[in-house]
Every structure is written in C-alpha cells, then in structure tokens.
Assembly symmetry: C2
Homo-oligomer: 246 residues x 2
C-alpha cells in the first residue's frame, strides 16, 4: 500500500457528495431516529436492510475475485470476516438478526429473504454488479460511503435507545461494532483511492462511484417509505405486517 | 423450433401471475390512462420509461450472446431490429423520442439519460443482468410479460387520445407498432417455454422468471409515483420539472 496521499480538492468533493446525498438526509431516517416509526415500519426496515447486510460479503468477495494484489486482498478480506464472522459466533449478519428478534420478528423468516421489496433487491444487486463489473478504482470508491457511516450509526444508536423499547446492548450490537469497523475500512479505501485517482478523469470516476453508492442507499429508503409509510402501497410480494413474527 | 405444445396448467399459472401482478394494475397507470396525470407527471414517465426502452435491445443482445441455436437467434433478432430500427429511420427507440417531443421534452435530453431515477436504472439493469446470467429458460420466460402487453397498449392508446392534447398518430406510433410486434414475439417465446419446461422444477422457474419481470415493471411505477406524485420526494439527481424542455 502506498503512503498516505493528501488530495484536499478531491476529498472536499467526496465530502460534498456525502453532505448533499447521504441517506442520513432521507425522511425515513429522520422518522426512525426521531421515534416516529410504528413497530411495523421498524420491522419493514429491519427486513429490507437485512438484504443489504446479506449482500455485503458477496460484494466484497466479488471484489477479492478481481483483485490481483495479495496485499490488498489481505487488507480487504476483513470486511467479509466482519459481516460473516466465524461458524459458531457469526458476525454482523447474525448481529443484525439479533435486532430482528428484538423487534419481534422470526430471525429465520428475515434470513429467508421472503417479503423483501423488489426495489430493495434491485438496488442492492446493482451494488454487487457494480463491484463485479466496474474498474477497480470505482469498485473501491463505491465503498466510501463509510466516510459518513459512523455519524449515522451514532445518531441511530442514540435515537433508538431514546425512543424504542427494543433497543438494548444485544439488539444494538451491530451498530456498536460498526463504529470501530467502518473507520478502519474507510481509512484504507480512501487512502487507496487518493493514491490511484491520478488524473482528472479518474477523479471524476471516483466521484461518480460515490454518487452511485449514495443512490443505492437512498433508493432503499424511498422504497421503504413508498411501501410502508404511504398507506396502501405495498407492492405485490412485499412483506405484509403480521407476517414473519416470532 | 418445436411444434406448439399445449400445457394448460402452466399457461393458467402464467395468466394468473399477470392477473395479480402486471403493472396495468398500478395506480400510476390508472392515473395516466384516466387523464389525471399533470404534464410533468407525463414527462417524468416518458423520461424514465425511455431508460427501459433503451435497454431492451441490450437485453436481447445479451440473450443472443448466450444462445447457441442459430434458428432461435434468427427468430429472436427481430426484437433488436424492432427497437433499434435502421440507421436512417430508427425503430421503437426513435418512436419513443417522438412521444418525448410531443410532451414538450427535448429528445436529446431524454436520450442523454440525465435525470433518470436511480430506482428506474436499478430495476431495468436488474432485467438486463437477469437475462445475461440466468438459465436460458428463465431468460426467455422473463419476456412473457408481453402476454399482457397488447391489452395495456390498447388501453393506453385509448386513454391518451381521449385525455391529452399531445396524443396523435406520430406520438402514439410506438404503442401502435407494439400492438402487432408483441403478439408475434410472445407467440414464439411462449411456445418455446412450454416446450422446454418439461419438469415441475422448470415450470416453477418459469413462473419465478415471470414474477421477477412483473416486479421490474411495477418497481418503475412505484419509483415514479414516489418521486413525482407524492410532493417533495424527488431523490437527489432525479429530473426536476422544468429541466430538459424543448
């Protein structure tokens, strides 16, 4: 890995993308963190966001499958380990299922993927395909929403503890863990991107990748809002409140 | 191509999927065909649906690229020809841009793809990836929403002529053409699917493929409704009314 490269102009562009487009700005998150979500809205969020969690290790495996540098693979592999964990204790995915249990859902139902909104699958699968198909620089850059993640995780932990009975050390452990995992990952990814975006064209490609990723996150919340906050708009096949309870 | 195979039970399952899930049931289409859409809602539909049109020949090229049977490639190729047309006259894509002009949009803006909703891209790209990656039987079966298309095209032609000044022979020519193109395509696709779905497992896979495709279509209308019928919900980067006018 190269030494840290400072590129204030590109870093400022990345920060500006986050300030304008990161999903902490979406009204669903205001509603969730402010305690206005109904139990079924929280459940819908947990069910759909599970699909995102479940695809992150597959996305990172797609990345490893294209990465010819063993040093980079060694550094990147921890992302899979964080989410999948070991056979016995599991990782982030199993921590997410603790949250599912805490909000009254059957974790086996959530893990089955039944009831996930098609729009959630399309957005998340677009991310997996992006990392599988785009130039490596863009594949790395698309992970840089982690720059903005610790802030939203901290807001979420605070908001959920304040407003919802289901919040406890066990159910919040996914977010607690991400507070330390995400900064480590993004330090590596950002440093690599800054070192390799050595033309104006590549800098533009990096920004486009980060915008793409913010769209993947935003579209998931739009779909949730449309299906579960607006009345009567659950698409065919989407989870119906009452299904999948523990 | 094999002789026509009759499989009433499988055909009935396919028809039932259409009756429950085809996007003629979506409230956006009721609104469009009933004359309740504002000019900007119509424009948003034309802009976003253009992305679907633009990807159909790429989807069919992905299909050809995987199809080892020259007879099948010869039959399937007309789908690309219908949409792309010849260098001078263009095909369905250029007919769609006539509609764009008729509703007051700059066709070059529409063709640029700027302003297309991320959720539209995710859904449509999911269809292209599906045809590129799934077993050939499912790739063919995913085209069978054409079974239900002539009815919606006829409803649309009638509804748009009745309610909107922009409807004329030129702007409606895309839909008029599809009235004859779609039945020819679906006759071939359905016959092929019925002949090749020779186990219960394959019949289930065919139904899953058709359900997937109905989800691709439905999700596009959910995204349109969320962004342009609900007030104040256009996602970052989405077309803003006033942009791209002729």
């Amino acid at each position: 890995m190269k030494d840290t490269v400072s590129k204030p102009a590109l870093e400022a562009r990345l920060q500006a993308i986050g300030a304008a487009r990161y999903h902490n700005l979406h009204p669903f998150h205001h509603r969730l963190h402010g305690g206005q979500c109904t139990p079924d809205e929280v459940r819908a969020w947990v069910i759909n966001r599970y699909y995102y969690q479940s695809r992150i290790p597959m996305k990172d495996a797609a990345f490893l499958s294209r990465c010819e540098d063993p040093d980079m693979r060694r550094a990147w592999r921890s992302r899979i380990e964080d989410h999948d964990g070991g056979i016995d204790e599991g990782g982030g995915i199993r921590r997410w299922l603790k949250l599912a249990e805490a909000v009254g859902l059957d974790p086996d139902y959530v893990a089955s993927g039944v009831g996930i909104l098609p729009a959630t699958r399309f957005a998340v699968d677009a991310y997996v395909h992006y990392v599988r198909e785009k130039p490596l620089l863009q594949a790395v850059a698309s992970s840089l929403t982690e720059l903005f993640a610790p802030k939203i995780h901290a807001e979420r932990i605070e908001g959920l503890f304040k407003h919802y009975d289901f919040a406890n050390q066990s159910s919040m452990s996914y977010f607690q863990k991400r507070l330390t995992e995400a900064p480590r990952d993004v330090e590596y990814g950002l440093s690599w991107v800054l070192a390799h975006a050595d033309t104006a064209e590549k800098e533009d490609a990096v920004c486009a990748a980060l915008i793409f990723k913010t769209e993947v996150l935003w579209a998931q919340l739009d779909a949730l809002w449309s299906a579960y906050v607006e009345p009567g708009r659950i698409p065919p096949g989407g989870w119906q409140p009452g299904e999948g309870l523990a």
